[in-house]
């Protein structure tokens, strides 16, 4: 790695102004460990300097921050949702859902909320991802491109891990399944972090960010619907079949009660964080999708 590659981590406005000069200095300077450390520290200083904050308006920055938080909350929600899905497997639970209206309603509320939230996140994130990709390709931002490549690369790795390490003949929770679950959670967290970092390094305009506010609100509301569904499902199932929560039917070989509780806690946290992020964004200026389409 060349020392000059560290300059990629400086804000674009700083690079536009000083990069050539620093490259010239570096071409004559005897580079040592101190030089690497000093340049890396300088990048942090430059990012903290508001005069290099770039061309994004303060409101656009606030919108970007709230949308990143909603996206990360959604990813945490999905991970918890997979834990819930694992709990609902089994013919006995399907029978209970048919026999008890509240259990069935809770379950379908979870599914409906999950589908709506997924579609909303895709609708909001896709235009932003396209803008980020186009900007990164045009500006030769290999750091942003590498970050955007993390989710597909990890998806391939998770699928490959699942295909190679987990055998369908295995019954119960084997070590390989536990490994797959842990790797999946790691991949989800790493993908969310990589995409968020790529977004913070991109100059996104107000229009695309404001347009994403509606899907973010819909996704958060849908997360709330799923959360209510999980709670209703759990309480109703506990009334109809209390033994279910005292048996070893949860994920990762834990009791179902603890799995359900973990799912609820993660979903509550994710939903509350997403609501708080949207609450703090500037209101009254967000155009509806219809208004934006007619501009």
């Amino acid at each position: 790695m060349q020392i000059a590659s560290l300059l990629r981590y400086y804000p674009p406005a700083w690079r536009e102004r000083y990069e050539d000069e620093v490259m010239d200095v570096l071409s004559q300077h005897r580079v040592s460990f101190s030089t690497w450390f000093d340049l890396a520290r300088g990048a942090v200083d430059a990012h903290l300097d508001p005069s290099f904050a770039g061309k994004m308006s303060p409101s656009a920055r606030q919108l970007r921050r709230s949308e990143i938080i909603v996206f990360c909350s959604f990813i945490a929600f999905v991970v918890a949702g997979i834990g819930f899905q694992k709990m609902t497997e089994g013919a006995d639970k399907a029978g209970l859902m048919q026999a008890h209206l509240a259990i069935g309603l809770g379950y379908y509320a979870v599914i409906a909320g999950a589908v709506i939230a997924l579609l909303a996140i895709v609708a909001g994130a896709l235009p932003i991802a396209m803008v980020m990709l186009r900007q990164a390709l045009a500006a030769g931002r290999r750091d942003v491109l590498a970050l955007l490549a993390v989710p597909p690369a990890l998806l391939v790795a998770v699928v490959a891990y699942g295909a190679l390490a987990v055998h369908p003949s295995n019954s119960g929770i084997s070590a390989s399944v536990r490994g797959l679950i842990a790797f999946f959670i790691f991949s989800a967290a790493a993908s969310a972090a990589a995409v968020s970092l790529a977004a913070t390094r991109s100059e996104l305009n107000d229009v695309v960010l404001r347009l994403a506010q509606w899907p973010a609100r819909v996704a958060t509301a849908a997360m709330g619907l799923s959360l209510v569904g999980v709670v209703v499902w759990g309480i109703s199932l506990n009334s109809a079949a209390p033994s279910f929560f005292t048996l070893d039917g949860g994920s990762m070989t834990s009791y179902a009660y603890f799995t359900w509780l973990r799912v609820v806690v993660v979903m509550v946290l994710a939903t509350v964080i997403a609501v708080a992020a949207l609450w703090r964004t500037p209101r009254g200026e967000t155009p509806s999708p219809m208004e934006t389409a007619t501009r």
């Binding site: 050539d20 000069e21 000093d38 300088g42 300097d49």
Partner: protein, 107 residues
Amino acid sequence: MPANFSDLGRFSGPGLLILSSLAEGAKHGYAIMMDVQEFSGTKMEPGTLYGALTRLEQRGWIEPLPPEERRRPYRLTGAGATVLRQQLASMDQIVRTGQQRLATTGA
């Protein structure tokens, strides 16, 4: 200490060295580094140099001149010269006080 100089934070030391270097005349980045090392023995790294140059320029104490290929010279402004004088006078006062007290106590 003159107002605002301490606002430079960790760049106040390098800032003073750069202003002292530019008091001699306009210089570009690498020439400033070499000059500072020569008159003070301080080896300034590029990240610190440009962090300090940025802040001095923002305060109007130095100004950039038209670039010569990739090099851009900087020169001291009137406000920069005033700040430098105040800062050096303050340091001079500290030096003289310290020396007098050492001479008095004979430590």
